[in-house]
Amino acid sequence: MNRAIHVAAACTVDVVGVRNSAGTTVDWQQLDVDPQRARIAWREEFGGDARAFRRLDPTTRMVWIAAAACGLDELPEPLRERTGLVLASASGCLAADLRFAAGLHVTAGIEPALFAYTLPSTALGEVAIRHRLRGPTLFLSVPSGREAAGVDAGLDLISAGEADAALVLCGGWLPAVVAEPVGAVAETRIDALLLRLAEASATPTISPSDGAALLEWARSETAGHGDRPADPA
């Protein structure tokens, strides 16, 4: 199936802050949090319901923020039924794994509520609940630097007619303070793209060629308008 797809929004969440293609920029100093230690506070513009946000583990909070920064709150209701979710990450849920494992050998140390977050797909489940998304949900575990595989997967879902939109999240959140003691590689950046099936009357923002090119384009889109390269069409 050959379906025209366009990028409706893009955002980046990293150690500097949150930036999206609509021009919103919030840095962590404004948020008064320390992202290197994965202490992430709730903010109305990204968090939605504060109580729901606070129960999330740090990685899921970052994914949640990225989803909101891509404008999922504005997604038309009928489209939510056919909006897929893809997360491609090297670190996955390692931060939650380490915290849960630490509790195994301490009296009353296990956190039952944390166990669900020791699945890397759970972060996507939280986004699905928050935004009422009922399309396919896919976590791809990738080596560091190969996150564009997630964009390819999102394009495939739409191209195959299995979804009409897909939020693709590339990267993860494993601060050095958590990663280094066990010898893992830190990951502190999530780039997200909201892919949508182009309506017949709409001019596609770009014609996607491959996931890697699209991801690069999205990164430049959120890096600042001054250094944005030409569209990869």
Partner: protein
Amino acid sequence: MNPTVVGRGAVSCFGRGAARLVDAVFAGEQGLRPRARLAKVECLTSVAGEVPREVVDAAGDPTRLPLAMAADAARQAITEWGSAPDRHTLLVLATTKADLSGIAPHGGAGFGSPHRLATALATELRFPGPTAAVSCACASGLAALAFAGRALRAGRFTRALVVGVDALHEFVVRGFSALLALAPGPCRPFDRARDGLSLGEGAGAVLLSAVDGEAGAELLGWGESNDANHITGPSRDGTGLALSITRALRSADVPPDAVDAVHLHGTGTPFNDAMEGRALARVFAVPVPAAGSKAQLGHTLGAAGLLESLIALGIVERTGLPPNLGLQELDAECPPTLQAAATPLPRAERVLKVAAGFGGINAAVLWGARR
């Protein structure tokens, strides 16, 4: 053309081989036994579907089990096919926790990372093609089949080796125990007195081909959805799983009445089994014959979609359903066609396999008879 199954492999609590697995399930053998390797783990169950130590040599190290089991199952599938995979063959690994070395008190650097395990598996098999690693909770296996099917239909690969694996580990057993999800004894899916799930382990493999002339049972279609409802519990009304099933039927381009049987997820938890009853009722105007196998295998998590697809293929080939062990009094909320004993079917051309997992993830795959 639809992808066809040209090779199968399994490592389960019943031993090695897909045929051994299907024979044991249809014969009503019980694979849930008193915990052996995990005997010292404090948890709320006395049994597990452990792979016998003599079946897979992991040198007593539980973190080596996933790779050993996955490689064994994969080799069986490749051997049945009878040739060597080339660089146009995709390797897709499905797992929830992969190899937990580096996290749990063992050396190593598995870090529970599916892609690390997939890379190790490719190295072990000297696999020349690209790899992908899928983790979608308890729907991982079916999600991996959908991922592979999508790639084959798009013409990017000629074949795909799909392997699902998970090993029992204290991390997982105590996690489910902490959630109070475990049955004290062998689980009893769909029974009124069901009280939780039993855990199992193993690996399943299916080698799919999109090459003309390579005949086998067919992967007819697949569908996936999210409940968007709750992180650990299924949607009570079954709409999420029903959506997956509807999408799988659309993918296969067949109506609901073309489905001859369903192999259920059937974990044995009160909410899951009732949810499946409601989901099927939403899709099928006439109740469709159904069975589940976790009362014999335990819930093998990332391996479940593959191991239980092998059973679904067994239903196609034997034109009959396996028993539902432990089923004494069928819960009125569960699918009404469930029988305690193995039952013949008038027709088994198309068999649906369904799964649901944490994060609200649902998946359905439709298998078809060899043409």
